[in-house]
């Protein structure tokens, strides 16, 4: 693995559309559930162990070479909210565009042909990691990092939260994030033998419920 390639992919400025998504933070702020750094941390911790874990396992699995179509269907089954499925595919499509330009590969071209309107973002992330010469743990690290940093940076814009406080939230969650990566990679390694049922399915009811309300807002800063 190349740490430098990993940093390129994990960089929040990697142009793959993430900046327009809050990971549910906008709806949670509006509901009065994120008000400060402490509640942001609680929010991010919950997201890390649910969506973050599932995304990381999907990404690690894709990086290990599991069938993207099966992983994409597994992602659908683990994402009951249509608004979140749409957002995940949109982000997947945007990431795929950036990835194909950054690390051209036949595998990524094949994915684009198979999913012209986008596959779930974690699946694309895993294949992007492969194209960049990275491994399953790298892909999982990127996924869990996004699951926390997305809402954290969005909250800076939404609440005017001190950016140092928001970054400290991500840093405090880092040890937990490492453990989530381990779980995700363990599960991903079982997919070859047991199929996609081996992937975790941890869910966050309020993320799903609020995502549907958020999708109906006429005035909002973030796409999801």
């Amino acid at each position: 693995m190349s740490r430098s390639a990993l940093l390129v992919l994990a960089d929040g400025r990697f142009p793959a559309g993430g900046h327009a998504h809050s990971g549910g933070a906008e709806a949670a702020v509006a509901a009065g559930r994120i008000t400060d750094a402490a509640s942001l941390e609680d929010f991010c911790r919950g997201r890390l162990h649910t969506t973050g874990l599932v995304s990381a396992a999907l990404a690690a699995s894709a990086a290990l070479g599991a069938d993207p179509a099966e992983l994409d269907a597994a992602a659908d089954a683990r994402t009951p909210s249509p608004a979140l499925r749409t957002a995940a595919r949109r982000l997947g499509r945007q990431l795929l565009r950036a990835a194909r330009a950054t690390w051209p590969s036949d595998e990524l071209d094949g994915l684009a042909r198979r999913f012209p309107k986008g596959a779930h973002q974690p699946v694309v992330l895993g294949l992007t990691a492969r194209a960049a010469g990275l491994g399953p743990a790298d892909a999982a690290h990127c996924a869990v990092h996004e699951s926390v940093s997305g809402p954290a940076t969005a909250t800076v814009r939404l609440l005017g939260l001190d950016p140092f406080d928001a970054t400290a939230v991500s840093a405090r969650l880092a040890p937990e994030a490492d453990r989530v990566v381990e779980r995700a990679v363990d599960a991903a390694r079982r997919v070859a033998g047991e199929g996609v049922d081996a992937l975790p399915a941890a869910s966050a009811p309020l993320l799903e419920i609020l995502a549907e309300a958020h999708a109906g807002w006429s005035v909002r800063l973030f796409a999801s």
Binding site: A31, S39, G46, H49, E176, D197, A204, L207, E208, E212
Partner: protein, 256 residues
């Protein structure tokens, strides 16, 4: 207090009787699980699961299996809420529910709430395998703790397959020892009642249901297949049931 963990199995098998009704060639259970046939309506057989003992306790492993054959119609409820309690045996308690519905069969799986009492540790799996032309109404409600007590630990996984394809796979972990943030703003935000209502039927392919919120704490979520999930959280069991009942009425109306 029991001294050894209980292994128990309940089985229900529903078959079309050829005269527009449904018969139950298999209806048995042991230990704390006792399925009883009650008066049905129309062509539908009704079964109530009666908990002969309180449970599940730590160390128990309960298995429930219901199979609905082509054209048969079965409705299963329970006599009272299930209360998960702490036990003397390590490793927690386990309850596995496996449901299959064949083409043209219909299953209404509507048990009462699962209450996770303080100190309990329960793992629940519910798995429904449906043929493409099968219909299902499934409700699950998890209540975290009895009134004014801390919740027990619960790990609950719900999987729905239609024609071999998984359309819903979701796991909820909560209570002490669950992964972090379970009670925080992304997951339950202090709510103590969580519920899922799953509706499956070919009609959802023809006439998809629109997604959208149902108030602040529930949403109608059409799945990637001929199925809909209503996901809800609430402060207590009563409010949760009301939310799910309203959703069920709303979703059932256009399909008949």
């Amino acid at each position: 207090m029991r001294t050894a963990g209980v292994r128990a199995l309940a089985r229900i098998h529903a078959r079309a009787d050829g005269r527009g009704g449904t018969c139950l060639p298999v209806l048995d259970g042991d230990g704390p699980l006792a399925p009883r046939r009650t008066r049905g309506s129309g062509g539908e057989a009704h079964v109530v699961l009666v908990g002969a003992m309180s449970g599940p306790l730590g160390g128990d492993h309960l298995t429930v299996r219901a199979d609905v054959e082509p054209g048969a119609r079965l409705r299963v409820g329970s006599a009272a809420a299930t209360i998960a309690l702490p036990g003397r045996h390590p490793g927690g308690a386990r309850q596995d529910v496996t449901l299959t519905v064949a083409d043209g069969g219909e299953l209404h799986w509507l048990p009462e709430q699962l209450i996770c009492a303080q100190g309990s540790d329960l793992t629940v799996t519910t798995r429904a395998d449906l043929a493409p032309g099968a219909r299902l109404v499934l409700r699950e409600e998890q209540i975290l703790g009895r009134a004014a007590e801390q919740p027990g630990r619960l790990l609950s996984r719900l999987t729905v397959r239609i024609g071999g394809r998984t359309v819903l796979d979701q796991e909820l972990a909560c209570g002490p020892g669950a992964t972090g943030g379970w009670d925080g703003p992304a997951v339950l935000a202090g709510r103590r009642a969580v519920g899922q209502l799953v509706l499956v039927g070919p009609e959802f392919e023809v006439r998809p249901v629109g997604a959208g919120p149902l108030g602040e704490d529930a949403a109608v979520l059409p799945l990637a297949g001929p199925a809909v999930l209503v996901s809800a959280v609430a402060t207590d069991a009563l409010r949760l049931r009301r939310l799910l009942d309203e959703a069920q009425d709303r979703l059932a109306a256009p399909s008949v």
